[in-house]
C-alpha cells in the first residue's frame, strides 16, 4: 500500500540520456522501481540502461505499457515535457526539473485540470514508497524504511533529514512525497493529506512546510475538517528575513499568511503537533506513536 506509486508502476524517464536523468534512472531501478523506457527526442531506437529509448511518449506507452514518468528535461523544455506526458494520459508524473518559468507552469497546471494525470513538482525530489520498493525521484533510497508514517514536504533535503530521523528511531514510512518548492505546482499539501487520510497503510503523517504562500493554511483547514490521523509538523524559515523571497505585491494576497508564525498557528489550531526545531521531528513522531 502507500500512495501514488507502487508495485504496478511502470516508469519511463524523460531525459534519460542526460547526466542527471541517466544517474537517477539507474538509482531508481536499483532501488526496485520497474523502469521500462526512456524518452529523448532524436534518440529513439537506441537502448539506454538496458531499456528502449523512444522519440515520443506515445510510442513508449504503446510499446512498453509505461504509466508513470520522471522528468529531467532542462527548464526551457520542461513544461512541454509535462504536457506531452499528460497528453499521453500517464497516471503519474514527477517533474524534478528546477527553474521552470512560472508562467509556463500556470499554463501546464491549467491544462491538467479535468485530466486524470497526477503531477508532483516541479522542483521536487519526487516520491518514494519503501514498502513496495518503488522510487520515482532523487532521494537517497537507503535512508528510508517501510512502515506506516506518511511524509509530505515542500523541501528536498529537509525531507531527507526528517526521514532519517524517523528511520533512526525505527519508524518506517508508507510513502514520502516532495511536492516541490515552486509557487505553482501540480500537487499541494491538501491533495497529499487527502490521499494519506484514505490510505490504510498510513497511520500518522509528518508535514513540512515553508514560509511564503498559503498552502499550509489550506492544509490546516482541510485537516481540521477531515483528518483524524495524528500529524507532526514543522515550518521552515521562521528566521528568514521578510520580503527577500516574496515580491512586494506577492506578499499582499496572502498578507501575513506568508510568515512562519501564521502557518504554525493555523496548523496548531487544526490539531497538528508542531515542533519548533527541525531536529525534533523524529522524537515528536515517536511520542505521538507511543514509542517513547
Amino acid at each position: 500500500m502507500g500512495i501514488l506509486i507502487g508495485k504496478n508502476t511502470r516508469l519511463l524517464v524523460q531525459g534519460i540520456t542526460g547526466n542527471d536523468g541517466s544517474f537517477h534512472a539507474e538509482k531508481c531501478r536499483d532501488y526496485g522501481t520497474n523502469l521500462v523506457a526512456g524518452v529523448t527526442p532524436g534518440k529513439g531506437g537506441t537502448t539506454h540502461l538496458g531499456v528502449p529509448v523512444f522519440n515520443t511518449i506515445g510510442e513508449a506507452v504503446k510499446k512498453t505499457g509505461a504509466n508513470a514518468s520522471m522528468i529531467f528535461v532542462p527548464p526551457p523544455f520542461a513544461a512541454d515535457a509535462i504536457l506531452e506526458a499528460a497528453d499521453a494520459d500517464l497516471e503519474f508524473i514527477a517533474c524534478i526539473t528546477e527553474g521552470i518559468p512560472v508562467l509556463d507552469m500556470v499554463k501546464v497546471v491549467r491544462y491538467l485540470q479535468g485530466r486524470t494525470t497526477r503531477l508532483v513538482g516541479p522542483n521536487c525530489p519526487g516520491v518514494i514508497n519503501p514498502g513496495e520498493k518503488c522510487k520515482i525521484g532523487i532521494m537517497p533510497g537507503n535512508i528510508h524504511m517501510a512502515g506506516n508514517v506518511g511524509v509530505v514536504s515542500r523541501s528536498g533535503t529537509l525531507t531527507y533529514e526528517a526521514v532519517a530521523q524517523l528511520t533512526d528511531r525505527k519508524i518506517g514510512q508508507s510513502t514520502c512525497v516532495g511536492i516541490g518548492g515552486d509557487p505553482v505546482s501540480g500537487t499541494n499539501f491538501v491533495d497529499v493529506l487527502d490521499m494519506f487520510n484514505k490510505d490504510s497503510a498510513t497511520e500518522a503523517i509528518v508535514m513540512i512546510g515553508e514560509i511564503g504562500g498559503s498552502k499550509e493554511q489550506d492544509a490546516a483547514d482541510f485537516i481540521k475538517k477531515n483528518v483524524r490521523k495524528p500529524i507532526v509538523g514543522f515550518i521552515a524559515g521562521g528566521s528568514a528575513p521578510p520580503g527577500r523571497r516574496m515580491g512586494h505585491a506577492g506578499a499582499i494576497i496572502t498578507g501575513a499568511a506568508g510568515t512562519a508564525s501564521a502557518k504554525v498557528a493555523a496548523l496548531k489550531a487544526a490539531g497538528v503537533t508542531m515542533v519548533d526545531s527541525p531536529a525534533k521531528l523524529g522524537d515528536a513522531m515517536a511520542k505521538v506513536l507511543g514509542k517513547k
Binding site: P140, G156, E161, G255
Partner: protein, 384 residues
C-alpha cells in the same frame, strides 16, 4: 530581477500602457535640459531599487531647470538611504525627469501570479498611493481581485469588470480597459513575476497614467529575454549577493555571526531556524544547490568566509544528488586557498558521508565534526 522605474516605464510605453512624459538623466546638466524640454517644471525622481524614495528625499517637484539641477547635484553619485535599504543605502546614478501631472484620482493596480489560484491575478483598489499591504490588512473590502485564465487570456469584459470595480467614470471605461489589457500583455510578454502601478492616476485632464511603475521579472525566464536580462543594474545589489549569483549559489546576507552553508533551501532555512532557536543569529542563508560541483562548493564557501561578520561556521550537508565527498573537497579547497580563522563545525549525512568526513579529518584542517543536526547547531553556537 528588479528593474528601475525608468526601465519599467519604457516597457510600459512599448506595450501601450500610458505613462507620464519623461526621460532619464545621468548628470545635473542633463536634468536641467530635460526640464527645459517639458516646460521648466517637473518631477525629478532618484532611480534606485528600493521603496520609500519620497520620504528619504529622493523625489522632488521642481519649479525650474535650475532648481532641478541643484537637486540633482545633491543626489547623483550619492547613496540614498530609505527604510528598505539598510544604513549603507543604494547608489543614485540616474534620475527620471517627468512632467507634473494634475491628479484627479489615485488608484492601485498590480498583477502577480497567485499560487493558490495558480494563475495571474489582477489586484486593484481605489485606495491608490498607499501601502497596499496596509489596505489589505485594514480594509480588505477595498481590494478587487480578478484571475485571468491562461487558456483564454485577457478578455475585454475583464477590463470592464476591473474599471467598474474601481468606480471609474463610465466615460473613461474604454481607455481604462485598454490600460489593463495592455498591462496584462506586458506581464505575459516579459515573463514578469510582478507588475505594479501605484498610483494609477486619473489626471485632471482625463488621462489614465501609470504615475509609478514597478516590474519584477521571473529570473527563471530570463533565458528567453536576453534584452531584459541586460537591464540588470548590479550596482543596486549587495556585492556578496552579486558574487553569489555569478557563482550560481543562492546566498542572502543577514545580520548574525554564524555563517552557514547547507544543500537545499528548506534544510538551509531549517538550519538557520535552529541556530536562532539556540540563541544565536545566522549570518546568511546559503543553499549550494542540488547538483553542486566541487568548484561551486568552493566558491560558495569563499563567499561565506568573505563576510567579516562571520565568527563561526556551520556546514550541514545531507548528501543526495550532492555527494558529501564532493562537498568536503570544495570546503578543503576553499580553506587551503584563503585560510580560516573562525571555528568550523561540519555535519554530513547521506550519500558518501563517511568518505567526506574522512577527507576532512585527514586534511589537517581544524574541524569540529557533529553527528546530527541538533549537535551541529549546539557546537556551532557554543564555538568560540
Amino acid at each position: 530581477m528588479k528593474l528601475h522605474e525608468y526601465q519599467a516605464k519604457a516597457l510600459f510605453a512599448k506595450y501601450g500602457v500610458n505613462v507620464p512624459k519623461g526621460s532619464v538623466a545621468s548628470t545635473p546638466a542633463e536634468v536641467a535640459a530635460k526640464l527645459r524640454e517639458i516646460g521648466g517644471k517637473g518631477v525629478v525622481k532618484a532611480q534606485v531599487h528600493a521603496g520609500g524614495r519620497g520620504k528619504a528625499g529622493g523625489v522632488k517637484v521642481v519649479k525650474s531647470p535650475e532648481e532641478g539641477e541643484q537637486f540633482a547635484k545633491g543626489l547623483l553619485g550619492k547613496r540614498l538611504v530609505t527604510h528598505q535599504t539598510g544604513p549603507e543605502g543604494v547608489p543614485v546614478d540616474k534620475l527620471l525627469v517627468e512632467e507634473v501631472i494634475g491628479i484627479q484620482k489615485e488608484l492601485y493596480a498590480s498583477i502577480v501570479v497567485e499560487p493558490s489560484m495558480k494563475t495571474a491575478v489582477f489586484i486593484v483598489s481605489e485606495a491608490g498611493g498607499m501601502d497596499i499591504e496596509e489596505v489589505a490588512a485594514k480594509s480588505p473590502e477595498k481590494i478587487v481581485r480578478l484571475s485571468v485564465d491562461p487558456i483564454i487570456g485577457f478578455q475585454p469584459f475583464m477590463g470592464r469588470k476591473l474599471a467598474t470595480g474601481l468606480n471609474i467614470d463610465p466615460a473613461l471605461m474604454r481607455p481604462a480597459a485598454a490600460f489593463f489589457e495592455n498591462l496584462y500583455k506586458l506581464f505575459v510578454a516579459t515573463d514578469a513575476s510582478m507588475a505594479e502601478v501605484n498610483p494609477l492616476v486619473i489626471t485632471t485632464d482625463g488621462r489614465i497614467l501609470a504615475a509609478d511603475a514597478k516590474i519584477g521579472l521571473d529570473d527563471d525566464a530570463l533565458f528567453r529575454h536576453k534584452d531584459l536580462a541586460d537591464l540588470r543594474d548590479i550596482g543596486q545589489e549587495d556585492a556578496l549577493d552579486v558574487k553569489a549569483s555569478e557563482a550560481d549559489v543562492n546566498y542572502i546576507r543577514l545580520d548574525g555571526d554564524v555563517g552557514c552553508m547547507v544543500n537545499g533551501a528548506g534544510l538551509a532555512m531549517a538550519t538557520m531556524d535552529l541556530i536562532k532557536l539556540m540563541g544565536s543569529q545566522p549570518a546568511n542563508f546559503l543553499d549550494v544547490g542540488g547538483g553542486a560541483s566541487e568548484d561551486k562548493v568552493k566558491a560558495a564557501f569563499l563567499i561565506l568566509l568573505s563576510d567579516k561578520k562571520v565568527k563561526k561556521v556551520l556546514v550541514n550537508i545531507f548528501g543526495g544528488i550532492l555527494r558529501c565527498d564532493v562537498a568536503a573537497r570544495g570546503i578543503i579547497g576553499a580553506v587551503k586557498e584563503k585560510g580560516i580563522n573562525v571555528p568550523l563545525v561540519i555535519r554530513m549525512r547521506g550519500t558518501n558521508a563517511e568518505e567526506g568526513l574522512k577527507l576532512l579529518r585527514e586534511s589537517g584542517l581544524k574541524v569540529i565534526i557533529a553527528n546530527d543536526l541538533q549537535e551541529a547547531a549546539e557546537k556551532a553556537v557554543r564555538a568560540a
